[in-house]
Subunit: 206 residues, 2 copies
DNA sequence: TTTTCCTTACTTAACGATCAGTAAGTATAG
DNA sequence: CTATACTTACTGATCGTTAAGTAAGGAAAA
């Protein structure tokens, strides 16, 4: 046990899976960057999908724990929803690879997503569903279909985090007559997002 | 002079690029499914990226035209915003491959997106930016950063459209105690989304 | 009318590169 | 001596791409 080569492989693999997606991440490159050879990966992991699952469950179980512990207080649905969104944002900030990996899974319709990761994802979304349902039952939220709100929150944060270069590239083509304020970091986005989401789900004073 | 072979290749290619992304779509499979051989593709298109660009610009210029013509009326920003969102939804309905292709580009941070597609994308977003800016100037919208609203609209529609199987897979793991209403089609989602977005950007009567 | 020829629209066959995965050998620590 | 933690060397498959050949059809020449 000279060094923690396995941990190194896991970290490098996370970066490669996030940049290239599951199919296009090369074990050869991951090995080289980790300072080992390709079969060394096969010593530590059964195959490519096993390495991928290790990378994913690591982060997903952490996120599931984060959003669950932050929201199971006795606060109002509004406060819990705001906390959920901002916790999600903080997590993306501390785990930069995670958003891009999930973004690739969105694009692939979850083709490569292992069962364990689907379980963790279900937990994460169930926590959010519970908050939204509570709000509706307490008469403070007006939501016809929680799926839409879930998508508005999760997809906005994930896609924003993964499309930094693309957004800059596209924004540079937009006429300069439009004043475009600087883009805040992901936590700033999460704060702005939670503000708009709370307005979006509020019960209208008819 | 069977001109429909080229069109056939374009259609099949769109389906393959949407399912597998640019890098993982196989010219061999596209050719086989189109009823030709691989070099036949190289007769009609310079290379793989040229075929990709043809598929993309086809759809993007159409979408740019759709959202522009629908919104340049003299209506209120609220009506124009609602129309923009629902036009976007209709477009995704009639062009099922488009959302997934864009979703792959989001995940890849636009690595494979050709210049012409970036131009069209800029036009599409500029139309939305103009609507939001008008709303702010007319005092009916309260928006700190239009990027957030753009992401809420575009990412929600795109990701929702591409994650049908994944959402079903995850939803089946959520406790049955939660009543989950049936998921409407993309146009229904667009209608619900526009309702929430209009609430989210409204100027608060404080 | 018949023959020649050129362009169009492909096909067959192969290239080098890269991929995930494996068999078999080896150095090191306890 | 033995288990751990690798390495070297390789396999078969698939990838984008290209060189070279060919069938079909219309236009020009005989």
């Amino acid at each position: 046990m000279r060094e923690n080569k396995k941990g190194k492989i896991l970290n490098i693999a996370a970066r490669h899976f996030s940049r290239y997606g599951y199919a296009n991440a090369s074990l050869e490159e991951i090995a080289a960057e980790s300072g080992v050879t390709k079969p060394a990966i096969y010593y530590h992991f059964k195959d490519k999908s096993d390495l991928y699952e290790a990378v994913l469950t690591d982060r997903l179980s952490q996120l599931a724990w984060d959003v669950e512990t932050v929201s199971d207080t006795a606060d109002t649905p509004q406060v819990r929803l705001r906390r959920y969104i901002e916790t999600f944002g903080s997590f993306l900030e501390t785990h930069p690879c995670f958003a891009a990996i999930l973004s690739h899974e969105f694009a692939d319709n979850g083709t490569q997503l292992p069962e364990s990761a689907a379980d963790a994802l279900a937990n994460i979304l169930q926590t959010l569903t519970a908050i939204l349902n509570d709000g509706v039952e307490q008469g403070v939220f007006a939501i016809k279909n929680p799926i839409v709100i879930q998508m508005m929150i999760v997809s906005t944060l994930i896609v924003h985090q993964t499309t930094d270069k693309l957004r800059k590239r596209v924004a540079s083509r937009i006429e300069k007559s439009f004043h475009l304020p600087p883009v805040p970091n992901i936590q700033g986005i999460a704060r702005l997002l939670s503000h708009h989401i709370l307005l979006a789900v509020q019960k209208e004073p008819t």
